[in-house]
């Protein structure tokens, strides 16, 4: 009887140790990667919005400058830098990347689930009911105590977690490896986009600057001294924004490149026990992405 009472507890310990120990590095790394990837994704989507809005501003500025000229600009000729289809394609891909990163993190760390807990608890309760039914309907003297039914629930939960962990360990690393070339291609493509956005943003600011200068000079004395002063003071602020935007895009490009390198290290580490260099890369990527996020926040705050 003593042996039968201690068996469920031993089984639990054994299964819990099997389920818990082997997956923690993968779970930790995928969670950290997901968090960093989510930041880079947010920052990239913000960058597209900023670049498109800036180009709209530059085009509007050109429209104003040419309004009274012999060749006025047709407002219909204004096109967005990236049309809706292009923005949607980019948003879909970035959202897909975020989902991928989040799912590998969830799968790797989510060995415990409320559904599994509920199923295991119900099973323990039903075993207790079965014992009671057997005791009352048959001459067999079975008495399943609450402790034993709880032990059965715990053992089943541990078994479920073990099977889940085994499934994750056998499947997720292969998917991460297969995804690696896609993440590398995506990184190069995003980087190519950022090159174009930086190039365009530089000239957009130059246009806004020249149009502002031209406006002040043409307005002449029609501006009051204080209005004129305020308009002239805008000129260095435009140049400052130009530099800040270029720095932002350059930093984002670095983060995107780090994302690909980090994913590559994640793919390699998924099958290796040595994850020290990966953890350093993830920390680096996260720091760089967080720095950008703070900067975007400061941009939003300053535009209010």
């Amino acid at each position: 009887m003593r042996t039968s009472r201690t068996l469920p507890g031993l089984l639990c310990l054994c299964l819990l140790s099997l389920a818990g120990c082997s997956l923690s590095p993968l779970a930790r790394n995928t969670a950290a990667f997901s968090s960093a990837a989510s930041l880079v994704t947010d920052n990239t989507q913000n960058a597209y919005r900023i670049a498109v809005r800036l180009n709209e501003e530059a085009q509007a500025s050109l429209l104003v400058a040419r309004f009274d000229s012999p060749q006025p600009m047709d407002p219909h000729s204004i096109r967005p830098l990236i049309d809706d289809k292009g923005l949607r394609a980019r948003t879909d891909v970035l959202d897909g990347l975020r989902t991928y990163a989040q799912t590998i993190a969830d799968l790797s760390s989510g060995v415990s689930s409320p559904e599994l807990d509920a199923a295991a608890a119900a099973c323990g309760t039903n075993i207790k009911s079965l014992g009671d039914a057997l005791a009352s309907s048959t001459p067999i003297g079975i008495n399943i105590t609450p402790t034993e039914s709880n032990a059965a629930s715990t053992a089943l939960k541990a078994l479920g977690e073990f099977l889940t962990a085994r499934k994750v360990k056998s499947s997720v690393p292969a998917i991460i490896r297969d995804m690696d070339p896609t993440v590398a291609s995506l990184s190069r493509l995003l980087s190519s986009d950022i090159d174009i956005l930086r190039d365009q943003a530089g000239r957009d600011y130059e246009q806004i600057l020249a149009q502002e200068d031209s406006f002040i000079r043409h307005a002449g004395s029609s501006l009051s001294p204080s209005e004129r002063r305020a308009e002239i003071q805008r000129l260095p602020r435009i140049l400052s924004s130009k530099k800040a935007t270029d720095d932002l895009l350059a930093d984002l490009q670095i983060s995107i490149n780090k994302l690909a390198v980090t994913h590559h290290a994640l793919a390699a580490a998924a099958t290796s026990k040595d994850t020290s260099s990966l953890q350093a890369r993830i920390a680096d990527l996260r720091a760089s992405a967080k720095d950008l996020t703070s900067f975007y926040d400061s941009l939003s705050a300053s535009s209010k």
Partner: protein
Amino acid sequence: MPPTKSSAQKSTATPRTVAAPEAPPTSLPPVLSNPDTIETYKALYDILGRAYWEASDLNAKDTIQGARDAIYQILTDLNVAKLEANTALFLSLKSKIKDSNKALDKIKDDINNITKNIATASSVVAAIAKVLSLAPALA
């Protein structure tokens, strides 16, 4: 106004070029697909920019800026075309990422099945217990 960030090593004039995944298909006229032509336009835009700020006469400034505006529009159209070409590449990557997410969903389903199997076992035990609880009454 955004705060200025320190970036001693960064260039604001010429963006770094990073190789795209593949050569993007482009709908540009051949002459504008030539990198030398594009660089020449960019250089001309910058030179006209310097001339604008150096000119002291308003008419001269207007003339210079008029030419600069035309080059700006050509270079903007080029960038719009390049971004459109990249859109096609994004669409091709979208399906690959979708496939990976589908494979991950399949793993999620398999894991849910493990839970379902435990729930099914629980239901079987409950059903047996119910039958047995009825047994004394049937006897």
